[in-house]
Amino acid sequence: MPLDIVIVGSGIAPWMAASALARMARGGVGTMTVLETGGVDDSLGIPCAIETSLPTTPAFLKAIGIDEDAAIKASNGSFTLGIAMGNWTTNPAPAFHPFGETGASLGPIAFHQLAARLRAGGQNVNLANYSVAALCAQSGRFARPPANESSVLSTMEYGLHLESTGYAAFLKQDAQERGAITIKDDIGTAEFDCGLITALVTRSGERIKGDLFIDCSGPAANLISQMADSLFEDWSNILPCNSALSLSMSDDNPLPYTRVDAHSVGWQRLASVQGALNEQFIYQAGNLPDRQTDDAPYTFASGRQIKPWIGNCIAIGGAAAVIDPVASTQLTLTESAISRLISLLPHDRACRIEAAEYNRQTNDQLDCAFDIACLHYVRNGTAMPDRIAHRIAVYESCGRVVLHDGEIFETASWVSLFDALGITPRRYDPLADGIPQSRIEDHLSQIRSVMIQTVGSCPPIKDYINMCCDARSLENAA
């Protein structure tokens, strides 16, 4: 029997959920109502004028059938090929965490193990020199990777930079075109029967009945916090940042990457969209360095709902978890939560089995996102929790990347991140010693020359945007 769905919140998360459910779950969804509460869009967790994504966002849009160019146009969007990380170690040059593959293995020996062997011999090997995404980023070029695996360009991946208001409006329009009903009001009270929500009564007295209630109200967690079993796990002792400020200025030279620089009390991010550059500061309160602004900072505490799905209420986005967004994981977490809900869409309100599985998978993924965020604070002297300490220790000892269920980063990303934070292995794969050093050197220089040649054929990012997803084309059409 199709379920009537009620979504609460405003901004990217509720509309992304509405659009994806309307597109993907036609057989399982009856009516869909969005109670739009208004206010600052913290539906993903920490609000920012520009959202930066990992390569999951293009993949998610494709999976639910949304035209990526249209989404980019509507949100003045641009592309990002990785994260440049400055000031995280004493090395003055920023390190680069590229999206997609880095290098290529030689037989059973992973690329980073080959590089480690050359480094052990005294050579200075920069991993990013062997990544198409990094080389494109360096030269300000961009083209979408082809599906054809025979081109080295197919080894690269990319994420997006999207203006939050434009992206939310785009998703809203898409959901409304597919039948989502909008009610603008505040949550008043929820009505319960046997621990399940039966209806929401808005502040102005309207009653919205439903079978499944999705809480996209951001860190306020207005709905899930009313469930009997709800419990928030606070991570602020390990992820100390609690304030955010965002400033945009006009700029017409988009950078095809995200830049994240460490500060003594937090970090600062630069991200380009069409016609603008945004700076976001994430820091521990009272410590904003050398910058004054009239805006009050947004304050938050990192942590999560231990059970994001309780009864017939599912918290998605910032209502489920707030994680320091240093690694651009906010969009990823919300996209995965929505995909997971679709893959577990229940048949009726009593959905104990689906809820348990949803919570298990969600927590696996949040554990991994938490590990990634923690790792950025390793040099602060913050005591690392056991799991991330184990990841670091194994990598430092033999260069092996520990992977868990629900991982957001593949091996190559973990290696780049460790490298960028100055964590290097003491040893490398013993099998790498079975290969003559000259053969490894030839392998590396061959990869690099093929990549440089290919990257040279990509257009400057601005030309690429003008060609296929220029936001001004919307205005002209209108």
Binding site: P108, R117, H347, A356, E357, H390, D433, G434
Partner: protein, 503 residues
């Protein structure tokens, strides 16, 4: 490579596990520092009659650079497209757990969901018709899978059957050729470091002392180093998998040569049948609480389809795993690391997986605890996942009136398995763990084969066009059937490509 690299690696025991380890580790000698010695005693026999494997064995062989035809010919081997389970849900019923996928997903919707939807709408084809390995197996045919995804033969997947003793010999030749030293002799004493308990050396009957930095314990059930010396401890899984005995007997080859393993349910366990070129391997895995050795032996011999070539050989075991596969400077592989019955042919795979984990986390003389912990963490996860898959076969039986089987059907099961059953039984949902050995297709084959049909298909399957799916499925079944009929007979393929040789 490191300030303090491992110099001497000592492999204790020369069965399948020992020689697999020696062959794979021989590549480490490329660093010019490490040396590998394998100690085995001609007096101590090896366990193993006929071995059946699963497809990842091809990765192991490729890593070693082994030629498939040479390998099959040298081990009297044959090809395996899956396992036929006879009588496991109830007498008279059977199903194949095949290698390779069922059909292909459409718009992110899993194939078995589409199949359930079309089946409900009256489509006649059983799901077996959409797995090319199954269709080929039904005709006793085989050919090599094609790596090119455009080819229908890319849907095929296979593993091997071979004579375990010949496989050990084959790998011994490989390893010795690459510089592994074999030391004949019986170990009579083990020397430990007085301070930290690490193994310093094994001492042979002859008085020879074999010193080592790293020891690979492949000594079989007794676990000479890992248990006898280090007292690592054993986690007993008899509660879930109560079989504790096996009887093994070879019999004469019969025709046609089947391209699959067969597992037939018996009153107190099950009987395996592994077709090789020169004979058929058979065995009865049973629970001694429910049948005597004599009765089991009689049942085994009565169940053979060819003349027995020897008397049944008994084996005793306790299902479970060593609490730490890596303890101090010892890594246990094969039976020394634990035992799970060969119901899904996972024994050799566990050895292979242990070796690749060891290579990925290879220690130096400092023996960093985190590498050991990671090895043990990954090993524990893998063993538990396979255990759950084996329990599934027993739990979902319908052999009413047989005390052994009724006890299995009534047992409580791990929460991790219960969750899988609930999700599949509801809407046919499957979620594979990271690095899980058994795929969605394997779980689908066995759950449906054992009689667990989902209550309903996933509502997502309603988003695709029925007429289009019906057309696609009809066409797929047709193409698979035609493709399978064009393959050579299994015996013919072997005669043409890899006829057995005497070593």
């Amino acid at each position: 490579m490191s300030a303090d690299p491992i110099r001497n690696i000592v492999v204790v025991g020369g069965g399948t596990a020992g020689w697999m380890a020696a062959a794979a580790l021989s590549r480490i000698q490329g660093n010019g520092i490490s040396k590998i010695i394998l100690v085995e005693s001609d007096e101590i026999g090896i366990v193993g009659v006929g071995e059946a494997t699963i497809p990842p064995i091809k990765t192991f062989n490729a890593m070693l650079g082994i030629d498939e035809n040479d390998f099959i010919a040298s081990t009297q081997g044959s090809f395996k497209l899956g396992i036929e389970f006879v009588g496991w849900s109830r007498d008279g019923e059977k199903y194949l757990h095949p290698f390779g996928a069922y059909g292909s997903d459409i718009e992110g919707i899993k194939f078995h969901q589409l199949w359930m939807k079309m089946r409900k709408a009256g489509m006649p084809h059983p799901i077996a018709n959409f797995n090319l390995s199954t269709v080929a197996a039904q005709h006793n045919r085989f050919t090599k899978p094609d790596a090119n995804r455009a080819s229908v033969l890319s849907q095929l997947d296979n593993a091997y059957h071979f004579d375990a003793e010949l496989y050990a010999k084959f790998l011994r030749k490989y390893a010795e050729h690459r510089g592994v030293t074999r030391q004949e002799g019986k170990i009579t004493r083990v020397d430990q470091n007085a301070e930290n308990g690490f193994i310093n050396a094994v001492v042979l009957e002859s008085g020879d002392v074999i010193e080592g930095d790293l020891f690979i314990d492949c000594s079989g059930f007794i676990g000479l180093l890992i248990e006898q010396t280090l007292k690592t401890g054993y986690e007993d899984w008899c509660h879930y998998l109560p079989c504790d005995r096996a009887l093994a007997v070879p019999s004469e080859r019969t025709e046609p040569l089947l391209p699959y393993t067969r597992s037939t349910a018996q009153s107190a366990g099950w009987q395996w049948r592994i077709p090789l070129q020169h004979r058929t391997g058979n065995g009865y895995v049973y629970c001694s609480d429910f049948i005597s050795e004599d009765e089991a032996s009689a049942s085994l011999l009565a169940g053979l389809d060819g003349k027995a070539l020897s008397d049944p050989r008994p084996l005793k075991f306790t299902t479970g795993r060593r609490k730490k596969a890596w303890n101090k400077n010892v890594i246990a592989l094969g039976l020394a690391s634990g035992f799970m019955e060969p119901l899904e042919s996972t024994s050799i795979h566990l050895v292979q997986a242990g070796i690749s984990k060891l290579l990925a986390l290879f220690p130096d003389k400092s023996f960093n605890a985190h590498e050991r912990d990671e090895y043990n963490r990954l090993t524990a996860i893998q063993w538990a996942q396979i255990r759950d898959f084996l329990i599934l076969h027993y739990k979902l039986n319908n052999r009413i009136g047989q005390p052994f089987w009724e006890r299995c059907a009534a047992m409580d099961i791990p929460e991790s398995l219960q969750r899988k059953l609930d999700l599949f039984g509801g809407n046919g949902r499957l979620f594979r763990y990271e690095d899980e050995l058994f795929s969605d297709a394997s779980w689908t084959a066995v759950m449906m084969g054992q009689g667990l049909m989902p209550n309903a298909y996933d509502p997502l399957a309603d988003t695709v066009d029925s007429a289009q799916v019906a057309h696609m499925l009809g066409r797929m079944a047709e193409v698979f059937d035609k493709t399978a009929r064009q393959m050579p007979m299994h015996a013919e393929y072997i005669a043409q490509n890899c006829q057995g040789t005497l070593m």
